[in-house]
């Protein structure tokens, strides 16, 4: 096993490298992550501070009074808010996807490995979760939670938890499908023959072989979660102001779009660029890992 793995990885990397669009996507995402991580160090402006000297009730246009991208309708620096929004949107997406993959992988692995009635009930449960329309359900749940506790700081974890806790069925189905075939393979039998326990077989022997499709699925899911979070925030049920997120930055932009279109344009462009890059990256990864699946 040990010396069989590196060549495959090299092959995947070589195929991936030849795909300029996917590579571009990866680079854009890295840049965006840098933007979120180092933005404040390079551009130390408080995203919630109101420009008292220049702001007079209207959004300031890009370039005016030392605001490279202008300000929003409340006189807060747009670039600084974009950086803060990037931090929130990207971390929400990252943690929600980790949670989604963890739940999905665990349930899928158990269902696929044990089969029988365990499989039946887990998969029926998965179907139920999958059959409820996601957005309305999320809206109801976030509304309930935000009504029960009005701590704005809580909203980050709530969003992550709810999105992660409702989007795992896709991952579960995927992992189950590959486990169904993997558990019949010789190396699984060999592991069992040397007396390995169920947990050891699942996590040490089967899971590493099912990792490739999980990575692809997780990558594509990041784009979905970013869109979901921004939609929730846009409707006012996601990340709560004054904490900036790309979604809630757009919430008020609609009313001032005639006089200050830039307030609406920049956050949207950010969401579009990131999710587009992630989709291209995920697609490229899929092609590189499994070239037959086109």
């Amino acid at each position: 096993m040990a010396d069989a793995t590196p060549p495959v990885r090299n092959l995947v990397w070589r195929r991936f490298r030849r795909n300029p669009v996917a590579l571009g996507g990866a680079i854009v995402i890295l840049l965006m992550a840098l933007f979120a991580a180092l933005g404040h160090a390079v551009y130390p402006v408080d995203p919630n501070a109101i420009d008292q000297t220049n702001w007079s009730g209207y959004a300031l246009a890009p370039g005016i009074a030392g605001h490279p991208l202008g300000t929003d309708e409340n006189g807060r620096d747009l670039l600084a808010r974009l950086i803060a929004g990037a931090q929130v949107s990207l971390t929400v997406a990252l943690f929600a996807v980790i949670m989604q993959v963890a739940i999905g992988t665990l349930l899928g692995a158990i269902a696929g490995f044990y089969g029988g009635w365990v499989d039946f009930w887990i998969m029926r449960f998965t179907d139920v979760v999958l059959s409820i329309p996601l957005l309305p359900l999320l809206l109801v749940l976030t509304a309930i939670v935000s009504a029960t506790s009005n701590k704005a700081s809580l909203s980050f974890f709530v969003i992550v938890g709810l999105i992660g806790g409702l989007t795992w069925p896709a991952a579960a189905r995927l992992v189950r499908a590959s486990f169904l075939s993997l558990r019949e393979r010789e190396f699984a039998e060999a592991a069992r023959a040397i007396g390995a326990g169920d947990a050891a077989i699942i996590f040490r022997h089967l899971l590493p072989n099912a990792v490739a499709p999980i990575i692809v699925q997780a990558t594509l899911a990041v784009a979905g979660v970013i869109l979901l979070e921004s939609t929730l925030s846009f409707l006012g049920f996601g990340i709560q102001p004054p904490q900036a997120s790309w979604g809630n930055m757009l919430a008020n932009a609609q009313s001032t779009i005639t006089i200050a279109p830039w307030v609406a344009i920049f956050p949207g462009v950010c969401i579009l660029i990131v999710s587009l890059s992630i989709n291209y990256l995920g697609d490229g990864l899929r092609d590189a890992i499994d070239p037959n699946q086109r």
């Binding site: 059959s131 957005l135 809206l139 109801v140 609406a264 956050p267 579009l272």
Partner: protein, 303 residues
Amino acid sequence: MILFGVLSQAPGGPLTPYLQNPHITEADIARLKHNLGLDQPVPIQYLHWLGNVVRGDFGYSTSNSESTIDAILERMPATLELMGTAIGLALILGVIFGIVSAIKQYTWVDYVITTLAFFGQSMPVFWFALMLQLLFSVNGFTGFGYHIALPSAGISSGDTFDLGDRLEHLILPASVLALIYLAGFSRYMRSSMLEVIHSDYIRTASAKGLSRFVVVMKHGVRNALIPLVTIVGLTVPDIVGGAVVTETIFAWPGMGRLFINALGQFDFAVLMGIMCLAALFVVLGNLLADMCYAWLDPRVKYS
């Protein structure tokens, strides 16, 4: 399945943040709670509610005491008009785009269509809607010798029915939704069409000397449609809740906006009514998809 969907909804019941109105005393609230049955434990409330639903009574809206069914039925036509147009448009274009893109794989046509699909998939709906409003209705679009100014909100300008006016109002929201669905549909159609084109029976049909067009249209498309049907079936429940965002932005008087408004007021009767309807549509969508399978593929038989 409906039951399950509903069950997972139920434990939100007792939340009716009744107005921080100083004129309403503790006693009033207690009386209200009692009248609405909110002082009973949640499972009892749920059973009570379920019992009424079975008898066709979805209760009354707590915010304006309109019956839930009336509220939903009143908004339904608007949503159906919007979603029907959008999904229909996306389906027709998606199938055509998918076929063309598969037949002309790796040509510029294919690249244009797949890029479009990627954009559609990555586009935040609400932002796309805002940009269209900015482009076409705020100042009006001037170019190519035309000036277009489309209405950005509502379903019609006046109370009298005017087809042209209705269509004008429909264009922006419907095209926003259509692009989003188009992206998914055309990608699925492309990949399933590619699979079909490389299969043996297509080669046989070509070998018989049939023209390319006949081969693709008669033998290819029918088989390629089968996976797409599943996706479209899954889209059906969106008719209830999927337009939440678009309806909000374009002030469309449909169920999506009803849902958001009800949510803002914690109007549980209405919320539950809409969620039930959504669950019903899930079943309906699956049923529809199953019927389409049988129609597309005569080998599928349900006994």
